[in-house]
Protein backbone atom coordinates (compact mmCIF):
# COMPACT_ATOMS: atom_id res chain seq x y z
CA UNK A 1 0.00 0.00 0.00
CA UNK A 2 1.04 3.55 -0.62
CA UNK A 3 1.81 5.60 2.46
CA UNK A 4 0.19 8.99 2.90
CA UNK A 5 1.45 11.34 5.58
CA UNK A 6 -0.62 13.99 7.33
CA UNK A 7 1.71 16.98 7.32
CA UNK A 8 -0.36 18.69 10.00
CA UNK A 9 -4.08 19.32 10.29
CA UNK A 10 -5.35 22.43 8.55
CA UNK A 11 -8.74 23.82 7.64
CA UNK A 12 -9.73 23.62 3.98
CA UNK A 13 -11.17 27.14 4.09
CA UNK A 14 -7.65 28.42 4.69
CA UNK A 15 -6.60 26.62 1.52
CA UNK A 16 -9.26 28.63 -0.29
CA UNK A 17 -8.01 31.83 1.32
CA UNK A 18 -4.43 31.08 0.27
CA UNK A 19 -5.54 30.33 -3.27
CA UNK A 20 -7.56 33.52 -3.48
CA UNK A 21 -4.63 35.55 -2.19
CA UNK A 22 -2.44 34.10 -4.93
CA UNK A 23 -5.08 34.74 -7.59
CA UNK A 24 -5.29 38.34 -6.46
CA UNK A 25 -1.64 38.78 -7.31
CA UNK A 26 -1.66 36.85 -10.59
CA UNK A 27 -5.02 37.62 -12.19
CA UNK A 28 -6.33 41.19 -12.31
CA UNK A 29 -9.76 40.03 -13.45
CA UNK A 30 -10.43 38.10 -10.24
CA UNK A 31 -12.85 39.92 -7.94
CA UNK A 32 -14.21 38.71 -4.61
CA UNK A 33 -17.63 39.25 -3.06
CA UNK A 34 -18.47 38.37 0.51
CA UNK A 35 -21.69 38.43 2.56
CA UNK A 36 -20.37 39.52 5.97
CA UNK A 37 -18.16 36.46 6.54
CA UNK A 38 -14.77 37.73 5.41
CA UNK A 39 -12.88 36.21 8.33
CA UNK A 40 -14.73 32.90 8.24
CA UNK A 41 -13.98 32.52 4.54
CA UNK A 42 -10.35 33.59 4.98
CA UNK A 43 -10.78 36.38 2.42
CA UNK A 44 -9.07 39.00 4.63
CA UNK A 45 -5.78 38.95 2.82
CA UNK A 46 -7.34 39.39 -0.62
CA UNK A 47 -9.37 42.26 0.82
CA UNK A 48 -6.29 43.91 2.32
CA UNK A 49 -4.24 43.51 -0.86
CA UNK A 50 -6.95 44.53 -3.32
CA UNK A 51 -9.64 46.65 -1.63
CA UNK A 52 -10.79 47.91 -5.05
CA UNK A 53 -11.57 44.34 -6.14
CA UNK A 54 -13.26 43.25 -2.91
CA UNK A 55 -17.03 43.75 -2.54
CA UNK A 56 -18.59 43.59 0.90
CA UNK A 57 -22.29 43.06 0.15
CA UNK A 58 -23.55 42.67 3.71
CA UNK A 59 -25.98 39.98 4.79
CA UNK A 60 -27.61 39.88 1.37
CA UNK A 61 -26.65 36.70 -0.45
CA UNK A 62 -29.24 36.97 -3.23
CA UNK A 63 -27.87 40.35 -4.26
CA UNK A 64 -24.34 38.97 -4.04
CA UNK A 65 -25.07 36.19 -6.54
CA UNK A 66 -26.82 38.58 -8.92
CA UNK A 67 -23.98 41.10 -8.69
CA UNK A 68 -21.44 38.36 -9.36
CA UNK A 69 -23.36 37.34 -12.48
CA UNK A 70 -23.39 40.98 -13.64
CA UNK A 71 -19.67 41.44 -13.00
CA UNK A 72 -18.84 38.71 -15.51
CA UNK A 73 -20.27 41.11 -18.11
CA UNK A 74 -17.14 43.16 -18.54
CA UNK A 75 -14.81 40.20 -18.14
CA UNK A 76 -14.44 39.87 -14.38
CA UNK A 77 -14.08 36.48 -12.67
CA UNK A 78 -16.13 36.78 -9.48
CA UNK A 79 -15.55 34.55 -6.46
CA UNK A 80 -18.43 34.68 -3.97
CA UNK A 81 -17.86 33.66 -0.38
CA UNK A 82 -20.27 32.64 2.35
CA UNK A 83 -21.29 29.47 4.20
CA UNK A 84 -22.42 26.52 2.06
CA UNK A 85 -25.99 26.83 3.32
CA UNK A 86 -26.25 30.47 2.28
CA UNK A 87 -24.30 29.81 -0.93
CA UNK A 88 -26.84 27.32 -2.26
CA UNK A 89 -30.21 26.76 -0.63
CA UNK A 90 -30.78 30.40 0.22
CA UNK A 91 -29.99 31.60 -3.29
CA UNK A 92 -30.95 28.66 -5.47
CA UNK A 93 -33.12 30.58 -7.88
CA UNK A 94 -30.56 33.37 -8.25
CA UNK A 95 -27.91 30.79 -9.10
CA UNK A 96 -30.28 28.92 -11.39
CA UNK A 97 -31.38 31.89 -13.50
CA UNK A 98 -28.68 34.55 -13.24
CA UNK A 99 -25.65 32.23 -13.12
CA UNK A 100 -26.31 28.73 -14.48
CA UNK A 101 -28.99 29.37 -17.13
CA UNK A 102 -27.27 32.62 -18.09
CA UNK A 103 -23.97 30.73 -18.41
CA UNK A 104 -22.01 33.18 -16.24
CA UNK A 105 -18.43 32.60 -15.15
CA UNK A 106 -19.11 32.82 -11.41
CA UNK A 107 -17.22 30.81 -8.78
CA UNK A 108 -19.47 30.07 -5.81
CA UNK A 109 -17.12 29.29 -2.93
CA UNK A 110 -18.74 27.70 0.07
CA UNK A 111 -17.22 27.13 3.47
CA UNK A 112 -18.65 25.41 6.56
CA UNK A 113 -20.20 22.68 4.40
CA UNK A 114 -21.74 19.63 6.01
CA UNK A 115 -22.15 18.55 9.57
CA UNK A 116 -18.61 19.25 10.76
CA UNK A 117 -19.08 22.97 11.21
CA UNK A 118 -20.18 21.55 14.52
CA UNK A 119 -21.72 23.42 17.39
CA UNK A 120 -23.80 25.88 15.36
CA UNK A 121 -26.19 23.03 14.60
CA UNK A 122 -28.51 22.10 11.78
CA UNK A 123 -29.53 25.62 10.71
CA UNK A 124 -26.01 26.05 9.40
CA UNK A 125 -25.10 22.46 8.47
CA UNK A 126 -26.23 21.94 4.92
CA UNK A 127 -26.18 18.31 3.77
CA UNK A 128 -28.09 18.91 0.55
CA UNK A 129 -25.84 21.36 -1.31
CA UNK A 130 -24.05 18.91 -3.60
CA UNK A 131 -27.40 17.66 -4.84
CA UNK A 132 -28.75 21.16 -5.34
CA UNK A 133 -25.73 22.25 -7.33
CA UNK A 134 -25.10 19.12 -9.39
CA UNK A 135 -28.65 19.22 -10.73
CA UNK A 136 -28.03 22.59 -12.39
CA UNK A 137 -27.08 22.12 -16.06
CA UNK A 138 -23.57 23.37 -16.77
CA UNK A 139 -22.55 23.66 -13.13
CA UNK A 140 -19.19 22.16 -12.13
CA UNK A 141 -19.23 20.78 -8.57
CA UNK A 142 -16.00 20.37 -6.60
CA UNK A 143 -15.53 19.14 -3.01
CA UNK A 144 -11.89 19.18 -1.97
CA UNK A 145 -10.27 16.88 0.57
CA UNK A 146 -7.60 18.97 2.29
CA UNK A 147 -5.85 22.33 2.52
CA UNK A 148 -3.43 21.74 -0.34
CA UNK A 149 -6.09 20.46 -2.71
CA UNK A 150 -8.45 23.32 -1.86
CA UNK A 151 -5.76 25.85 -2.68
CA UNK A 152 -4.99 24.05 -5.95
CA UNK A 153 -8.69 23.88 -6.85
CA UNK A 154 -9.15 27.59 -6.16
CA UNK A 155 -6.39 28.37 -8.64
CA UNK A 156 -7.74 25.88 -11.20
CA UNK A 157 -11.32 27.14 -11.26
CA UNK A 158 -10.17 30.66 -12.16
CA UNK A 159 -8.89 29.19 -15.43
CA UNK A 160 -12.11 27.29 -16.11
CA UNK A 161 -14.70 29.22 -18.12
CA UNK A 162 -18.11 28.52 -16.56
CA UNK A 163 -19.96 28.40 -13.27
CA UNK A 164 -18.36 26.39 -10.46
CA UNK A 165 -19.48 25.37 -6.98
CA UNK A 166 -16.43 24.88 -4.74
CA UNK A 167 -17.23 23.24 -1.40
CA UNK A 168 -14.94 23.18 1.63
CA UNK A 169 -15.16 23.31 5.39
CA UNK A 170 -14.35 24.71 8.78
CA UNK A 171 -12.63 21.94 10.81
CA UNK A 172 -8.94 21.23 10.71
CA UNK A 173 -8.45 17.99 8.81
CA UNK A 174 -5.45 15.95 7.67
CA UNK A 175 -3.36 17.65 4.98
CA UNK A 176 -1.83 14.93 2.83
CA UNK A 177 -2.01 15.81 -0.85
CA UNK A 178 1.08 17.37 -2.48
CA UNK A 179 1.84 21.03 -1.82
CA UNK A 180 1.33 23.05 -5.01
CA UNK A 181 -0.02 19.93 -6.70
CA UNK A 182 -1.84 19.88 -10.02
CA UNK A 183 -5.60 20.07 -10.02
CA UNK A 184 -7.42 18.80 -13.08
CA UNK A 185 -11.16 19.45 -12.94
CA UNK A 186 -13.10 16.23 -13.57
CA UNK A 187 -10.12 13.93 -13.10
CA UNK A 188 -10.30 11.41 -10.27
CA UNK A 189 -7.15 10.71 -8.23
CA UNK A 190 -6.40 7.06 -7.56
CA UNK A 191 -4.79 6.91 -4.12
CA UNK A 192 -4.67 3.16 -3.50
CA UNK A 193 -4.86 0.20 -5.83
CA UNK A 194 -7.03 -2.65 -4.56
CA UNK A 195 -8.75 -5.85 -5.60
CA UNK A 196 -11.55 -6.54 -3.11
CA UNK A 197 -13.49 -3.30 -2.79
CA UNK A 198 -13.44 0.21 -4.28
CA UNK A 199 -13.86 3.14 -1.92
CA UNK A 200 -14.94 6.29 -3.73
CA UNK A 201 -14.70 9.29 -1.41
CA UNK A 202 -14.99 13.05 -1.59
CA UNK A 203 -14.02 15.90 0.75
CA UNK A 204 -12.26 15.15 4.01
CA UNK A 205 -13.74 11.66 3.98
CA UNK A 206 -10.95 10.82 1.53
CA UNK A 207 -8.57 10.76 4.50
CA UNK A 208 -11.02 8.60 6.42
CA UNK A 209 -11.10 6.26 3.41
CA UNK A 210 -7.30 5.97 3.45
CA UNK A 211 -7.39 5.14 7.15
CA UNK A 212 -10.16 2.60 6.49
CA UNK A 213 -8.09 0.99 3.71
CA UNK A 214 -5.23 0.42 6.16
CA UNK A 215 -7.56 -1.27 8.64
CA UNK A 216 -9.12 -3.37 5.90
CA UNK A 217 -5.66 -4.38 4.68
CA UNK A 218 -4.77 -5.52 8.20
CA UNK A 219 -7.91 -7.65 8.11
CA UNK A 220 -7.04 -9.19 4.73
CA UNK A 221 -9.16 -7.02 2.42
CA UNK A 222 -7.53 -5.07 -0.41
CA UNK A 223 -9.27 -1.72 -0.89
CA UNK A 224 -8.84 0.67 -3.80
CA UNK A 225 -9.30 4.33 -2.82
CA UNK A 226 -10.35 6.97 -5.32
CA UNK A 227 -10.41 10.67 -4.47
CA UNK A 228 -13.32 12.25 -6.30
CA UNK A 229 -12.73 15.97 -5.91
CA UNK A 230 -15.00 16.75 -8.86
CA UNK A 231 -18.48 15.37 -8.42
CA UNK A 232 -19.64 16.94 -11.66
CA UNK A 233 -18.41 16.18 -14.26
CA UNK A 234 -17.75 12.80 -12.67
CA UNK A 235 -14.77 10.72 -13.81
CA UNK A 236 -16.88 7.69 -14.68
CA UNK A 237 -14.05 5.71 -16.28
CA UNK A 238 -11.87 5.79 -13.17
CA UNK A 239 -14.72 4.39 -11.09
CA UNK A 240 -15.91 1.79 -13.63
CA UNK A 241 -12.39 0.51 -14.26
CA UNK A 242 -11.71 0.00 -10.59
CA UNK A 243 -15.06 -1.65 -9.96
CA UNK A 244 -14.45 -4.07 -12.84
CA UNK A 245 -11.60 -5.43 -10.70
CA UNK A 246 -13.16 -5.23 -7.24
CA UNK A 247 -16.82 -5.95 -8.02
CA UNK A 248 -18.20 -3.71 -5.27
CA UNK A 249 -18.09 -0.12 -4.11
CA UNK A 250 -18.42 2.06 -1.03
CA UNK A 251 -19.11 5.76 -1.51
CA UNK A 252 -18.19 8.16 1.28
CA UNK A 253 -19.24 11.79 1.62
CA UNK A 254 -20.31 14.34 4.19
CA UNK A 255 -23.72 14.81 2.57
CA UNK A 256 -27.16 13.30 2.42
CA UNK A 257 -27.14 9.97 0.57
CA UNK A 258 -29.96 11.44 -1.51
CA UNK A 259 -28.49 13.66 -4.16
CA UNK A 260 -24.84 13.27 -3.29
CA UNK A 261 -21.76 11.61 -4.75
CA UNK A 262 -23.15 8.16 -3.95
CA UNK A 263 -26.17 8.60 -6.18
CA UNK A 264 -24.01 9.87 -9.05
CA UNK A 265 -21.80 6.79 -8.71
CA UNK A 266 -24.85 4.52 -8.55
CA UNK A 267 -26.19 6.04 -11.75
CA UNK A 268 -23.02 5.58 -13.79
CA UNK A 269 -22.55 2.03 -12.44
CA UNK A 270 -26.16 1.01 -13.09
CA UNK A 271 -25.75 2.25 -16.67
CA UNK A 272 -22.34 0.66 -17.23
CA UNK A 273 -21.46 -2.01 -14.70
CA UNK A 274 -24.16 -2.81 -12.11
CA UNK A 275 -22.41 -3.31 -8.79
CA UNK A 276 -23.32 -3.75 -5.10
CA UNK A 277 -22.87 -0.40 -3.35
CA UNK A 278 -22.94 0.86 0.23
CA UNK A 279 -23.37 4.50 1.11
CA UNK A 280 -21.38 6.23 3.83
CA UNK A 281 -23.37 9.44 4.10
CA UNK A 282 -26.09 10.98 6.22
CA UNK A 283 -29.36 9.17 5.78
CA UNK A 284 -32.03 11.79 5.00
CA UNK A 285 -31.59 13.64 8.26
CA UNK A 286 -30.69 17.07 9.58
CA UNK A 287 -27.60 17.48 11.72
CA UNK A 288 -27.30 18.79 15.26
CA UNK A 289 -24.87 20.53 17.60
CA UNK A 290 -21.70 18.76 18.71
CA UNK A 291 -18.00 18.62 18.00
CA UNK A 292 -16.99 17.56 14.48
CA UNK A 293 -15.60 14.23 15.71
CA UNK A 294 -18.68 13.49 17.79
CA UNK A 295 -20.90 14.24 14.82
CA UNK A 296 -18.86 12.16 12.38
CA UNK A 297 -19.12 9.23 14.76
CA UNK A 298 -22.83 9.64 15.49
CA UNK A 299 -23.76 10.05 11.83
CA UNK A 300 -21.44 7.30 10.59
CA UNK A 301 -19.02 9.43 8.56
CA UNK A 302 -15.61 8.19 9.74
CA UNK A 303 -13.06 5.49 8.93
CA UNK A 304 -14.82 2.98 11.15
CA UNK A 305 -18.07 3.48 9.25
CA UNK A 306 -16.23 3.00 5.95
CA UNK A 307 -14.63 -0.25 7.20
CA UNK A 308 -18.02 -1.60 8.23
CA UNK A 309 -19.59 -0.57 4.90
CA UNK A 310 -16.73 -2.24 3.01
CA UNK A 311 -17.15 -5.54 4.84
CA UNK A 312 -20.88 -5.42 4.24
CA UNK A 313 -20.58 -4.75 0.52
CA UNK A 314 -17.90 -7.41 0.03
CA UNK A 315 -20.28 -9.93 1.59
CA UNK A 316 -22.96 -8.91 -0.93
CA UNK A 317 -20.80 -9.74 -3.97
Amino acid sequence: MKEYKDTGKKDTRSGFGAGLTELGKTNDNVVALCADLTGSLKMDEFKANHPERFYQVGIAEANMIGMAAGMTIGGKIPFTGTFANFSTGRVYDQIRQSVAYSGKNVKICASHAGITLGEDGATHQILEDIGLMKMLPGMTVINTCDYNQTKAATLAIAKHDGPVYLRFGRPKVANFTPENGDFEIGKAVKLQEGTDVTIVATGHLVWEALEAAKTLNDQGLSAAVINIHTIKPLDANAIINSVKTTGCVVTAEEHNYMGGLGESVARILSENHPTPQEFVATKDTFGESGTPNQLMEKYGLNAEAIVNAAKKVVARK
Binding site: V31, E52, R53, Y55, V57, G58, A60, A62, N63, M64, I65, G66, M67, A68, A69, G70, M71, T72, I73, G74, G75, K76, P78, D93, Q94, R96, Q97, S98, Y101, S102, G103, K104
Partner: protein, 281 residues
Amino acid sequence: MANIQELEAFVTQVRRDIVRQVHKVNSGHPGGSLGCAEFLVALYQEVMERKEGFDMNGIEEDLFFLSNGHISPVFYSVLARSGYFPVEELNTFRLLNSRLQGHPTTHEGLPGIRMASGSLGQGISVAIGAAEAKKLNGDRHLVYALCGDGELQEGQNWEAIMYAAGNQVDNLIVSIDLNGQQIDGATDNVLPMGNIKAKFEAFGWDVISIAKGNDVASIIDGLNKAKSHSGNGKPICVLLHTIMGNGVDFMMHTHAWHGKAPNDEQLESALAQNAETLGDY
Protein backbone atom coordinates in the same frame (compact mmCIF):
# COMPACT_ATOMS: atom_id res chain seq x y z
CA MET B 1 -31.95 64.02 -31.62
CA ALA B 2 -34.07 61.79 -33.82
CA ASN B 3 -37.33 63.19 -35.08
CA ILE B 4 -40.04 62.49 -32.49
CA GLN B 5 -42.51 61.63 -35.21
CA GLU B 6 -40.14 59.00 -36.57
CA LEU B 7 -39.78 57.47 -33.12
CA GLU B 8 -43.56 57.47 -32.67
CA ALA B 9 -43.88 55.69 -35.99
CA PHE B 10 -41.27 53.20 -34.76
CA VAL B 11 -43.47 52.63 -31.70
CA THR B 12 -46.58 51.79 -33.70
CA GLN B 13 -44.59 49.16 -35.58
CA VAL B 14 -43.33 47.72 -32.28
CA ARG B 15 -46.93 47.54 -31.05
CA ARG B 16 -47.85 45.59 -34.18
CA ASP B 17 -44.91 43.24 -33.58
CA ILE B 18 -46.02 42.69 -29.97
CA VAL B 19 -49.60 41.71 -30.69
CA ARG B 20 -48.65 39.65 -33.74
CA GLN B 21 -46.02 37.65 -31.83
CA VAL B 22 -48.40 36.91 -28.98
CA HIS B 23 -51.38 36.18 -31.25
CA LYS B 24 -49.47 33.68 -33.36
CA VAL B 25 -48.63 31.35 -30.47
CA ASN B 26 -51.66 32.29 -28.36
CA SER B 27 -49.40 33.02 -25.39
CA GLY B 28 -47.15 35.71 -24.00
CA HIS B 29 -47.51 39.05 -22.25
CA PRO B 30 -48.88 41.92 -24.35
CA GLY B 31 -50.07 44.32 -21.61
CA GLY B 32 -46.76 45.22 -20.00
CA SER B 33 -45.04 45.02 -23.37
CA LEU B 34 -47.29 47.69 -24.87
CA GLY B 35 -46.86 49.86 -21.79
CA CYS B 36 -43.09 49.92 -22.23
CA ALA B 37 -42.91 50.25 -26.03
CA GLU B 38 -42.19 53.99 -26.01
CA PHE B 39 -39.58 53.58 -23.26
CA LEU B 40 -37.60 50.86 -25.02
CA VAL B 41 -37.78 52.62 -28.38
CA ALA B 42 -36.52 55.85 -26.82
CA LEU B 43 -33.79 53.99 -24.93
CA TYR B 44 -32.45 51.99 -27.87
CA GLN B 45 -33.05 54.53 -30.63
CA GLU B 46 -32.11 57.72 -28.86
CA VAL B 47 -30.68 57.49 -25.36
CA MET B 48 -28.18 54.64 -25.14
CA GLU B 49 -24.71 54.77 -26.65
CA ARG B 50 -24.45 51.45 -28.45
CA LYS B 51 -21.73 49.85 -30.52
CA GLU B 52 -22.32 48.10 -33.83
CA GLY B 53 -22.90 44.39 -33.40
CA PHE B 54 -23.04 42.53 -30.12
CA ASP B 55 -20.54 41.13 -27.69
CA MET B 56 -21.35 39.90 -24.22
CA ASN B 57 -18.87 42.10 -22.34
CA GLY B 58 -20.22 45.34 -23.80
CA ILE B 59 -17.06 47.31 -23.08
CA GLU B 60 -17.27 51.01 -24.07
CA GLU B 61 -21.03 51.00 -24.61
CA ASP B 62 -24.14 51.46 -22.49
CA LEU B 63 -25.84 48.29 -21.30
CA PHE B 64 -29.49 47.46 -20.65
CA PHE B 65 -30.93 44.71 -18.45
CA LEU B 66 -34.61 43.74 -18.54
CA SER B 67 -35.56 42.44 -15.12
CA ASN B 68 -39.27 41.86 -15.82
CA GLY B 69 -38.49 39.33 -18.54
CA HIS B 70 -42.11 38.51 -19.31
CA ILE B 71 -42.34 41.64 -21.48
CA SER B 72 -40.13 39.81 -23.96
CA PRO B 73 -42.35 40.67 -26.97
CA VAL B 74 -41.45 44.37 -26.76
CA PHE B 75 -37.80 43.59 -25.99
CA TYR B 76 -37.49 41.24 -28.99
CA SER B 77 -39.20 43.70 -31.32
CA VAL B 78 -36.97 46.62 -30.29
CA LEU B 79 -33.81 44.49 -30.41
CA ALA B 80 -34.63 43.13 -33.86
CA ARG B 81 -35.55 46.54 -35.23
CA SER B 82 -32.38 48.01 -33.69
CA GLY B 83 -30.33 45.55 -35.73
CA TYR B 84 -29.38 42.82 -33.24
CA PHE B 85 -31.02 39.98 -35.19
CA PRO B 86 -33.24 39.58 -38.27
CA VAL B 87 -36.75 41.00 -37.86
CA GLU B 88 -38.14 37.84 -39.52
CA GLU B 89 -37.02 35.90 -36.47
CA LEU B 90 -39.91 37.47 -34.53
CA ASN B 91 -41.93 34.81 -36.34
CA THR B 92 -40.34 32.19 -34.08
CA PHE B 93 -41.42 33.73 -30.75
CA ARG B 94 -42.09 30.96 -28.21
CA LEU B 95 -41.78 28.20 -30.82
CA LEU B 96 -39.79 25.01 -30.33
CA ASN B 97 -36.07 25.44 -31.14
CA SER B 98 -36.37 29.24 -31.22
CA ARG B 99 -33.84 31.71 -29.88
CA LEU B 100 -36.85 33.81 -28.82
CA GLN B 101 -37.81 31.89 -25.71
CA GLY B 102 -40.89 32.77 -23.69
CA HIS B 103 -38.64 34.76 -21.39
CA PRO B 104 -35.34 36.24 -22.59
CA THR B 105 -32.24 34.11 -22.21
CA THR B 106 -28.58 34.08 -23.14
CA HIS B 107 -28.82 30.31 -23.40
CA GLU B 108 -29.82 30.24 -27.08
CA GLY B 109 -27.28 32.87 -28.09
CA LEU B 110 -29.73 35.61 -29.12
CA PRO B 111 -27.72 38.80 -29.73
CA GLY B 112 -28.72 41.71 -27.52
CA ILE B 113 -29.45 39.64 -24.42
CA ARG B 114 -26.93 39.57 -21.57
CA MET B 115 -28.88 37.77 -18.84
CA ALA B 116 -31.82 35.44 -18.47
CA SER B 117 -34.81 37.02 -16.74
CA GLY B 118 -38.31 35.93 -15.90
CA SER B 119 -37.97 34.83 -12.32
CA LEU B 120 -38.47 38.30 -10.91
CA GLY B 121 -36.37 40.56 -8.73
CA GLN B 122 -32.90 39.70 -10.05
CA GLY B 123 -32.22 42.41 -12.61
CA ILE B 124 -31.10 45.25 -10.37
CA SER B 125 -28.46 43.04 -8.75
CA VAL B 126 -27.10 41.98 -12.13
CA ALA B 127 -27.11 45.59 -13.34
CA ILE B 128 -25.18 46.67 -10.23
CA GLY B 129 -22.58 43.99 -10.92
CA ALA B 130 -22.22 45.15 -14.52
CA ALA B 131 -21.96 48.76 -13.32
CA GLU B 132 -19.23 47.85 -10.83
CA ALA B 133 -17.36 46.00 -13.59
CA LYS B 134 -17.55 49.13 -15.76
CA LYS B 135 -16.01 51.16 -12.95
CA LEU B 136 -13.18 48.63 -12.55
CA ASN B 137 -12.61 48.74 -16.30
CA GLY B 138 -12.50 52.54 -16.36
CA ASP B 139 -15.46 52.46 -18.74
CA ARG B 140 -17.49 55.66 -18.35
CA HIS B 141 -20.61 54.19 -19.99
CA LEU B 142 -23.87 53.68 -18.15
CA VAL B 143 -25.92 50.66 -17.14
CA TYR B 144 -29.71 50.77 -17.51
CA ALA B 145 -32.29 48.38 -16.09
CA LEU B 146 -36.07 48.12 -16.20
CA CYS B 147 -38.23 46.53 -13.50
CA GLY B 148 -41.96 46.13 -13.10
CA ASP B 149 -43.64 47.83 -10.15
CA GLY B 150 -45.20 44.62 -8.88
CA GLU B 151 -41.73 43.11 -9.16
CA LEU B 152 -40.57 45.38 -6.34
CA GLN B 153 -42.41 43.04 -3.98
CA GLU B 154 -39.45 40.66 -4.36
CA GLY B 155 -37.05 41.13 -1.45
CA GLN B 156 -33.84 40.83 -3.46
CA ASN B 157 -34.57 44.23 -5.01
CA TRP B 158 -34.24 45.91 -1.65
CA GLU B 159 -30.93 44.19 -0.94
CA ALA B 160 -29.74 45.57 -4.26
CA ILE B 161 -31.25 49.02 -3.74
CA MET B 162 -29.50 49.25 -0.36
CA TYR B 163 -26.17 48.12 -1.82
CA ALA B 164 -26.23 50.54 -4.75
CA ALA B 165 -26.79 53.59 -2.57
CA GLY B 166 -24.38 52.48 0.14
CA ASN B 167 -21.64 51.95 -2.44
CA GLN B 168 -22.27 54.99 -4.67
CA VAL B 169 -23.10 52.99 -7.79
CA ASP B 170 -23.78 56.20 -9.71
CA ASN B 171 -23.39 54.81 -13.24
CA LEU B 172 -26.69 52.98 -12.90
CA ILE B 173 -30.15 54.13 -14.04
CA VAL B 174 -32.99 51.83 -12.96
CA SER B 175 -36.42 52.55 -14.39
CA ILE B 176 -39.56 51.27 -12.71
CA ASP B 177 -42.57 50.58 -14.92
CA LEU B 178 -45.25 52.11 -12.71
CA ASN B 179 -48.41 50.82 -14.32
CA GLY B 180 -50.06 49.93 -11.01
CA GLN B 181 -51.02 46.47 -12.21
CA GLN B 182 -49.90 42.92 -11.61
CA ILE B 183 -51.32 39.48 -12.41
CA ASP B 184 -53.89 39.32 -9.63
CA GLY B 185 -55.02 42.95 -10.00
CA ALA B 186 -53.99 46.43 -8.96
CA THR B 187 -50.71 46.52 -7.06
CA ASP B 188 -52.47 48.45 -4.29
CA ASN B 189 -54.87 45.54 -3.83
CA VAL B 190 -52.38 42.69 -4.17
CA LEU B 191 -49.67 44.04 -1.87
CA PRO B 192 -49.66 47.79 -1.32
CA MET B 193 -46.13 49.14 -1.71
CA GLY B 194 -46.84 52.61 -0.39
CA ASN B 195 -44.84 55.51 -1.68
CA ILE B 196 -42.25 54.01 -4.01
CA LYS B 197 -40.59 57.38 -4.63
CA ALA B 198 -40.17 57.95 -0.90
CA LYS B 199 -38.82 54.43 -0.47
CA PHE B 200 -36.10 54.90 -3.10
CA GLU B 201 -35.23 58.32 -1.67
CA ALA B 202 -35.07 56.89 1.85
CA PHE B 203 -32.61 54.29 0.56
CA GLY B 204 -30.45 57.11 -0.83
CA TRP B 205 -31.30 57.11 -4.53
CA ASP B 206 -31.71 60.09 -6.82
CA VAL B 207 -35.32 59.76 -8.07
CA ILE B 208 -36.60 61.26 -11.32
CA SER B 209 -40.24 60.96 -12.36
CA ILE B 210 -41.52 60.72 -15.89
CA ALA B 211 -45.23 61.50 -15.53
CA LYS B 212 -46.00 60.74 -19.17
CA GLY B 213 -44.29 57.37 -19.49
CA ASN B 214 -45.94 56.67 -22.84
CA ASP B 215 -44.86 59.94 -24.44
CA VAL B 216 -41.63 59.58 -26.37
CA ALA B 217 -40.49 63.19 -25.91
CA SER B 218 -41.16 63.08 -22.15
CA ILE B 219 -39.22 59.82 -21.84
CA ILE B 220 -36.24 61.22 -23.72
CA ASP B 221 -36.26 64.35 -21.57
CA GLY B 222 -36.49 62.29 -18.39
CA LEU B 223 -33.74 59.85 -19.37
CA ASN B 224 -31.45 62.67 -20.49
CA LYS B 225 -31.99 64.29 -17.12
CA ALA B 226 -31.15 60.96 -15.47
CA LYS B 227 -27.96 60.71 -17.54
CA SER B 228 -26.97 64.21 -16.47
CA HIS B 229 -27.35 63.18 -12.82
CA SER B 230 -25.01 60.20 -13.20
CA GLY B 231 -21.57 60.32 -11.62
CA ASN B 232 -22.80 62.28 -8.62
CA GLY B 233 -22.44 59.57 -5.99
CA LYS B 234 -25.99 58.26 -6.15
CA PRO B 235 -27.72 55.55 -8.17
CA ILE B 236 -30.63 56.92 -10.19
CA CYS B 237 -34.21 55.69 -10.20
CA VAL B 238 -36.61 56.73 -12.96
CA LEU B 239 -40.25 56.34 -12.05
CA LEU B 240 -41.95 55.75 -15.36
CA HIS B 241 -45.70 56.25 -15.10
CA THR B 242 -47.12 54.06 -17.85
CA ILE B 243 -50.45 52.71 -19.01
CA MET B 244 -50.54 48.95 -19.31
CA GLY B 245 -51.69 47.94 -22.80
CA ASN B 246 -51.05 51.42 -24.18
CA GLY B 247 -51.95 51.91 -27.87
CA VAL B 248 -54.53 49.13 -28.08
CA ASP B 249 -57.75 50.54 -26.65
CA PHE B 250 -59.29 47.36 -25.29
CA MET B 251 -56.05 46.35 -23.53
CA MET B 252 -55.54 49.66 -21.71
CA HIS B 253 -55.90 50.38 -17.98
CA THR B 254 -56.42 46.74 -16.97
CA HIS B 255 -54.38 43.77 -15.80
CA ALA B 256 -56.60 41.48 -17.90
CA TRP B 257 -54.06 41.45 -20.73
CA HIS B 258 -51.02 40.79 -18.55
CA GLY B 259 -50.54 37.30 -19.94
CA LYS B 260 -53.29 36.78 -22.48
CA ALA B 261 -53.21 36.73 -26.28
CA PRO B 262 -55.75 38.44 -28.54
CA ASN B 263 -57.99 36.33 -30.78
CA ASP B 264 -58.18 36.90 -34.55
CA GLU B 265 -60.79 39.63 -34.31
CA GLN B 266 -58.97 41.40 -31.46
CA LEU B 267 -55.72 41.23 -33.40
CA GLU B 268 -57.39 42.86 -36.38
CA SER B 269 -58.65 45.66 -34.14
CA ALA B 270 -55.24 46.14 -32.52
CA LEU B 271 -53.51 46.32 -35.91
CA ALA B 272 -56.10 48.77 -37.24
CA GLN B 273 -55.16 51.10 -34.39
CA ASN B 274 -51.43 50.98 -35.22
CA ALA B 275 -50.18 51.73 -38.70
CA GLU B 276 -47.55 49.56 -40.35
CA THR B 277 -44.63 51.99 -40.53
CA LEU B 278 -41.43 49.96 -40.85
CA GLY B 279 -42.84 46.90 -42.56
CA ASP B 280 -44.31 43.85 -40.84
CA TYR B 281 -42.00 40.85 -40.53
